[in-house]
């Protein structure tokens, strides 16, 4: 019997988001202790590169917790060196949003970011759409200094909106680099509809470069920690 209406499946009581892209394999690259490329910064769960629902989050949370404990017990190096001049500059630019009385409201900015992602970085991707998204996201980045915050709550939302836009840009870069389709739902390229194990059994890594994000790829045969420049830069192949 044919259905003539789409069937909606969602479990809102548990607060699980409804989306076509449910199980995704992206996030902060971590080593086997859960440590990121930034020394002393650990990640687990949905924000980290290896997740898998609540089971993955709890196991990797445990591993990262042990990693933190082991890291703290080291006689030296547990505390990161913080460049206080850079920190002061970041603080000053963050607070500047409180003075943008006629600036751009964060809701408008965030809505444009979300719409761009839904339209071009979501379930159906191709190079033209992703490039269009990057263009829009970069022009939104140029507007970031004008974002206004009415109060500290608004300031928090402004920072969050900026992070959402940055995440969207990084995701678009990674999606553009991966010229294949993998797992169908999490990365489907209409212009590269087949899975290409010969060339793309790889992690795609997006890092901060001197002039925007740097995109590279690392074979899945290597540990993800090999991606960290602090460990081994030789393993990376440039795909930017």
């Amino acid at each position: 019997m044919a259905r003539d209406e789409p069937v909606e499946v969602s479990i809102s009581e548990l607060g699980i988001r409804r989306s076509g892209v449910y199980f995704r394999g992206s996030g902060l690259a971590v080593d086997t202790d859960g440590q990121t490329s930034i020394q002393s910064l650990f990640a687990a769960g949905d924000c980290a590169s290896v997740s898998g629902g609540i089971a993955g989050a709890s196991v990797l949370g445990h591993i990262a917790g042990e990693g933190v404990a082991a890291h703290l017990a080291k006689p030296q190096g547990a505390r990161p060196d913080i460049d206080m001049t850079a920190a002061d500059e970041i603080r000053a630019s963050a607070m500047a949003h409180m003075r943008n009385d006629d600036g751009l409201p964060w809701k408008e900015f965030e809505q444009q970011t979300r719409q761009t992602v839904s339209d071009y970085v979501g379930v159906r991707r191709n190079a033209k759409g992703l490039n269009l998204a990057l263009e829009t996201l970069r022009s939104l980045a140029a507007k970031e200094p004008t974002l206004k915050a009415d109060d500290l709550h608004g300031l928090m939302r402004v920072q969050e909106s900026k992070s959402i836009r940055l995440s969207a840009e990084l995701m678009a870069h990674a999606a553009l680099a991966r010229k294949e389709t993998r797992t169908r739902s999490s990365h489907r390229r209409l212009d590269y509809p087949e899975t290409d194990d010969a060339n793309w059994r790889k992690f795609v890594l997006v890092e901060r470069g001197s002039n925007g994000p740097n995109v590279s790829a690392l074979s899945c045969d290597k540990p993800l920690a090999a991606a960290f420049t602090r460990l081994d830069a030789e393993e990376l192949s440039d795909v930017g």
Partner: protein
């Protein structure tokens, strides 16, 4: 916002009779929506930014006296978003 704008749905209903004014909902809300005057057992929590609620239900689950009910708006229960829109646009 114009006078004609749709009134904002209040996602978090707090029972004034049951509430013990303990601050836990303010403390746990990940969206910083709920404001409760600290150390004052007379004042009720206030939902300051109702339109920013994610409906995560943490306030409801942490409330020690079950004074909070999360109310889902009609459009969330019977979603009218076109599924095709969620698939995104294809640029040829």
């Amino acid at each position: 916002m114009s006078a004609k704008a749709k009134p904002v749905h209040n996602p978090i209903q707090i029972d004034a009779e049951t509430c013990v004014k303990c601050n836990l909902c303010d403390w746990i809300c990940p969206g910083d929506l709920i404001y409760k005057e600290e150390d004052n057992r007379e004042t009720l929590p206030v939902v300051q930014y109702p339109d920013e609620c994610w409906y995560c239900g943490l306030c409801q689950s942490i409330c020690p006296v079950d004074a909070i009910t999360v109310i889902f708006p009609k459009e969330m229960i019977h979603c009218e978003t076109n599924v095709v829109d969620l698939l995104g646009k294809v640029v040829e």
